[in-house]
Symmetry: D2
Subunit: 349 residues, 4 copies
């Protein structure tokens, strides 16, 4: 089969590789219908994720059709259309029993990282019963690709850990795909105000279209000062960090109200300064986390019912075999006004 193979920093190839097969009784093999590229894939390409070694097939998102299942797989059969979770969960270790699938002892984020991933014609999915979800009928399948990673990430790590409640004021710092996913799903809890910070005017415009009540461009305005003014110096109930650099975490510390929450989603490459000299009296909560994807069944219901429409996050579509071109567009997202790109293999197989 064909797959996107990582060859080392800055180097991938669309190559012929052996088709995966069931290795354990709990495995399934899935033929990819659609997949996408994640910001994390760009980090891998830069060489920032040393666990990814040359020869690895990238990608951890997608939908497909079950091709084969192991003897212990009971929830899926050949021919089922499935959503692939970016997180593999054994369903039986201590972490999984707590619902913390991201720290599964035999899973977590392994696809396109420690084992071969989804930017390929086929992918092997370990612990298939706990790592795949039945695709609902009648829903745009590209939209469902957004449920592999970014929507549960924005929802669980941003909105749920941030404890967004009706009537609150919520700030989202960073309007990339994950920040926008937090923006969409924060609205499940009806905050009164949804403030979005970014340095890209196009993304702020998208944010306003997707429900932001106010936006501030931190490239041209002092974001924290502006938000404090908007809130009568009180600050926000929830600040969601969706960038991953010290400056944006600093904004969150500056704007969080007493009794408020900072929910970090951002992937940080270095430590940040925590202002305990000020925050120790402030009754705040700061949370971190990888996505567990245990909200996926719920998110599927909201898409089926029409409460959530993820299609607005998709800006480009490519054929799977054009994945390298897709990386170029996604890698220069600002230039292309790109959010998520869909790679489609439907004609192939």
């Amino acid at each position: 089969m064909k797959a996107l193979v990582y060859q080392g920093p800055g180097n991938t190839v669309w190559a012929d590789v052996p088709k995966p097969a069931v290795e354990k009784p709990t495995d399934a093999v899935v033929r990819i219908l659609r997949t996408t590229i994640c910001g994390t894939d760009l980090h891998i390409l830069k060489g920032d994720v040393p666990e990814v070694t040359p020869g690895r097939i990238l990608g951890h998102e997608g939908i497909g059709v079950v091709e084969a299942v192991g003897s212990a797989v009971t929830r899926f059969k050949v021919g089922d259309r499935v959503l692939i979770s970016c997180i593999t969960a054994c369903g039986k270790c201590e972490a999984c029993k707590r619902g913390m699938y991201s720290h599964c002892a035999d899973g977590g984020w392994i696809l396109g990282h420690l084992i071969d991933g989804t930017q390929a014609e086929y992918v092997r999915i370990p612990h298939a019963d706990n790592s795949l979800y039945e695709l609902p009928a009648g829903v745009d399948e590209s939209a469902l690709v957004m449920l592999s990673d970014i929507l549960p990430t924005g929802f669980e790590v941003g909105v749920l850990k941030g404890q967004v409640q009706p009537g609150q004021t919520v700030a989202i710092v960073g309007a990339g795909p994950v920040g926008l996913a937090a923006l969409l799903t924060a609205q499940f809890f009806s905050p009164a105000r949804l403030l979005v910070v970014d340095q890209d005017e196009n993304r702020l415009a998208v944010a306003r279209r997707l429900g932001a009540t106010d936006t501030v461009n931190s490239a041209t305005a002092p974001a924290a000062k502006t938000i404090l003014e908007w809130t009568g110096q009180r600050g926000v109930d929830v600040a969601i960090e969706a960038v991953g650099v010290p400056a944006t975490f600093e904004i969150c510390q500056d704007i969080v109200a007493a009794g408020g929450h900072i929910a970090n989603i951002g992937v940080h490459g270095r430590s940040v300064e925590l202002h305990l000299e000020r925050l120790w009296t402030h009754n705040v909560t700061i949370t971190t986390g990888l996505v567990d994807t245990n909200s996926t069944p719920m998110l599927l219901k909201t898409v089926v019912s029409g409460r959530l429409d993820p299609t607005a996050l998709i800006t480009h579509t490519f054929r799977l075999e054009d994945v390298i071109q897709a990386y170029e567009v996604f890698g220069r997202a600002a230039d292309h006004q790109a959010l998520k790109v869909i790679l489609t293999a439907e004609s192939g197989g």
Copy 2:
């Protein structure tokens, strides 16, 4: 001043009575701008609430202008426009410290019940600092009258105690004003399906307009059977009882899914049969409660931000001096397709 005075079962009069005055340092006197009639007032008129004795001024909802304050009132001053909570809270007893204002040792539901109420030109409000709320500017003031009682009741006793979550299936049994208030506020949490049961086609039509995804007329169809069919025999995550008779509580027991919640809002005159022989294995939660109105500040924010529009609950408007005529309309709600009626005293004073 003029007020609606209860004279005993079936008998009220719009009469001259002494204007109330500040009696304790924590009192305020409020000039009524708008008030309304509650289903509970009809119960009182029938003689079902024996604590209400002849001579009592009825009414526990409304907005107005502060006329006088006691020496310990610090949050309000003469001239402030205020929302009157149906629940009086001292803010310092054990119940109030737990946020359970409905069981305040020196308050709770006393207006128009144990002390004189709001269907009058003026009303004395004990513990004013904890029982009044500043009216936001620029919002329809009739809409705000809905925040005295029915919106916090539907929200706190139905939606919050029922623990409505995104993606869930929620049934509301009873589409009177409080059931509709639960319907409106359940949407704060983005359930996937909102099923409404009633025997009045007009109310079901209103429910559909206000967000019900499906409705069933229990006068002409078997409500529980229908809902079980709609949910693949699984039942609903949350069943909100908003009528107060054994038959509707029975429906809730029939339709609640394993792990689900029954939130009782209905005012019950007699005991019901609880099917523990079936439900003991069912991991359900059944809750009861009077409104505490501690969600009022939050609800005000959602009205100001436009997330909640209570005006759809208002069907009729009368002048305050026509209150007896308003009772007639509200008392035959089905005939008049009446939900909430507004009584307005703005020209008077």
Copy 3:
């Protein structure tokens, strides 16, 4: 092998039956070391549980040694000493993902009920990875048998659902093994007062020894009246029902304070009267539930650390082959001052 085989109401036999074998990749076969008898087994014997058909091996509690595992079992290997949960969990259905193992689509309470159970020399355990727990070293193994069912039942269905908190007043109605398990585990949360109601003086004496601060014999004193007097007519924060008849559920309704909780553990054979005409204003929560056993890992830690000592619940020990005699003693518990009986097969195998 030998096993206790149900022959129909009132009739069991200790008989030779085929030894179980692994049937599915997720199965294990366990050689029983110790087992016990549950009150539910007595119900089965009376014919109250019609799903149990003649030929069924009874029993759903015990510890043992793994004899064989299927190809998908990864957490246990032959020779491991294990605790058998009374609840079988597949770990991958909707209920299991919510932690509600009692409603597992391919499990729940099936041992000694819908499939053969533990009162035997060997038992087949489906979904072994999620239904067995590694036995900690150095702990009394009879004590650990109490973790198969009664301790998680008392804890999850009584204490956790009842939301016991430090400083509270808690009443436990029924001092049988499960009521006493609730009594032991309620102390994890340091209530100030633990009141126990029963009709058996011996059990009340045991309750006092295990931490009850006050006890009342409802055969000779008005339990509800007594408890209301003890609490200054305020009632209790949590009432745990551990009997399963209308009279004891009535006591719970009589004594629950405003804002309090009734946690039903009792197995009810018929409906009860729910006093909504009084409780509708009372802000109470009533919960029901089968045990999910997802607290088992935590309970094991408390036993290992010495915070919980379940041995006090064991009054008699028999050899496994004397199981019919053990049933006679357990069936006339009051006469024998019996709580839990241990059946030991250690010499056999």
Copy 4:
């Protein structure tokens, strides 16, 4: 009357000052029976708390007898014996309604800080109804002084925000009075292991006596490394920081398990480094907070019932007029093996 008056850094005097009087309807004046010195008082003396200006009477803990009450005080009358909370709460601002008394708009920590405090013969208590608690009879009154500040602080900011649960492993970094208060109250929730870190052998010995299962002296051993070894490199479920310097916050970050909590109690004078480059994937929660003292009624119940014995925290007793000598002992706590000192005025008045 006599009082300890702050004169500027390093300088206090036991001086004659005017006796306080009721100034507002919600005030009470309390005659001090017993008071104590807090670590914060030492900070003030060093000049670290610039809001405290010369002339201020210090102290924010104590018990006493009500001498006078304002016209709006209803819960207390002259002659009542009361516990003084270190936090003043109006009971009616937004923060108080959320139970966040520490951020009361007209209160919070003001005693001995922004208004005169309790190291005096008399003290004026604003918002008396929400800031005083009735003293239970029959309890050691020195013990109750521990409920003014350190016990609710250790419990609320350490144990509750840290979400200590039965069976968990909890580390407390710092065994001063507040750390020990966290140690005592963590046991309300029955953790399996309670690890304590300090640099003072005497305090570690006290910690073991009060329930620590293991202790490590961070002056002589690598605390984080030791705790990771004790926990099989897994780390602790809850790390409670009770010192307030970067090094101890670093230990907490090193030892917190995935999914765990860091609860900061320490008073920090400068920022710390937060290792988001590592913790972003770690699903941790970090909390900060001032004590709200809304657990005080509950803590009183646990003392009355004997579940909590605070007397072990008291090492020295002085007469109130010897307060300056008491400061010398408390200021050199290690030399004197001092924890809390009691100042008693009972003979005086």
